[in-house]
Symmetry: C2
Subunit: 233 residues, 2 copies
DNA sequence: CATTCACTATGATATTTATCATAAAGTGAT
DNA sequence: ATCACTTTATGATAAATATCATAGTGAATG
């Protein structure tokens, strides 16, 4: 993890969260916000938080890709969700709990923005528009996680893998060819399957010419079939 | 569904949400709140919301027990969570979405409090302390759902059923003897198993003298074993 | 450059879970 | 009380998934 020293700390012109974090600021709130905002850079594989860490900041992903996960008693990880740019890395619990419930680590080189938790609480308390905007945004995030968890749960192994590949293709990369940001083991941790069955399922998709696999590169060749497997499997 | 006419609309002396809904009110907010708050009564089995209904209010459970669920394409239900007194029935999505993502129905006779969504948004916007309190409370709820979903997912069928029975006994009824508020089919919908396997698993627990079943009444006879099954199954 | 280690891959087998079939018991309505 | 319907129950079988074993591949490291 490296701290980023910025000459322009609030150079967030392209930030999708502008509407939440800036358009509702008043008076000296913006200045105070910029003064306290910190960015950290994390190489692929590095941790952003460890489960159990003290919650000091409210954080969101500026660029890259991270996974939120929990390490179970048997040492295996369980992935809760994968977050992309402008997704919150701290979930809502941040407001009530003192220690991170999940670990967060970088799947790709990532930049995370941290806002001091006390400062966020202060702004929420004193700026209603900001509160409302933040609440809407946080609600969407939590809802998405719950939604996705239900979607994956109801599918069989083929459906789970198809759903995951489609999610990457459609929501994250918006392209039918993309580089898998996760290992087969991580897909297993996310979908609740065994690694072997993820590999087997992807091999079957390959043999049936539904996808093409070239190292980390995946091309969805038969979107219709993959969709059918995702919806009926 | 019956509307309740109250002579004392804000007679919520025992409400656990007092701190969120009252202690942060200022000036005429309390009066306005009481004027607009509505309560509805729902008999066991009745719907509180149907998925797809327009979101008009922000709602929480005053008494009783409800389930939040989704009806899938194949007609089967998937239970997201079971909510008890003072749990929110509207999740966070309420702030962003226009239509209910889930159906809600009463497992026991229930009273639900509804606050006009526009009014809630207005208060959030103008009362920072209320915002912060509400956000904390909503965060806890969402977190609990996500948490629970992960807990269930990682268990095998025996572990799922054991976990569910322990949850009822410990969190909801705080007693090792209680009346099951749900059918075996609903346990299946909540845990993602088949009804037959829920029945079979409970029968096995009965045969092994871990639980006693007498109609709807369940007594956990061997808490230690059930705990072991929940934790290692 | 060799070595180690994680990842991908595949087959054989065991286990778990779902499906199908049947029946008894409970529930609500008339 | 009777009928229709749902829930609980159990067994037999099929299907899905996990486990175990083995090996090739690729990436990182000294």
């Amino acid at each position: 993890m490296e701290r980023i020293d910025m000459n322009n700390p609030c150079g967030c012109e392209k930030c999708e969260l502008r509407s939440v974090f800036f358009e509702s600021f008043r008076g000296d709130e913006l200045e105070s916000f910029c003064r306290n905002k910190q960015e950290t850079f994390h190489h692929r594989g590095d941790f952003v938080f460890h489960a159990g860490d003290e919650v000091k900041s409210f954080s969101y992903l500026k660029s890259g890709l991270v996974k939120l996960f929990k390490t179970m008693a048997n040492g295996k990880d369980q992935i809760i969700t994968i977050a992309g740019p402008f997704d919150f890395v701290s979930l809502l619990g941040t407001f009530t709990i003192s220690h991170q419930p999940y670990s967060v680590s970088a799947l790709e080189d990532s930049v995370v923005c941290h806002i001091d938790i006390q400062q966020i609480k202060h702004i929420v308390k004193h700026n209603g528009l900001f509160s409302l905007n933040l609440m809407e945004r946080l609600g969407t995030t939590s809802n998405k996680i719950i939604q996705e968890s239900m979607e994956i749960r109801k599918r069989n192994t083929h459906g789970k893998v198809a759903y995951f590949l489609l999610k990457l293709s459609r929501d994250l990369y918006m392209n039918q060819t993309f580089n898998l940001p996760v290992s087969r083991r991580e897909i297993a941790e996310y979908t609740g399957m065994t690694t072997e069955n993820v590999i087997r399922t992807m091999s079957e998709f390959r043999k049936e010419k539904i996808i093409r696999i070239n190292g980390r590169e995946i091309e969805i060749m038969d979107m219709e079939s993959l969709d059918r497997i995702s919806n009926f499997g």
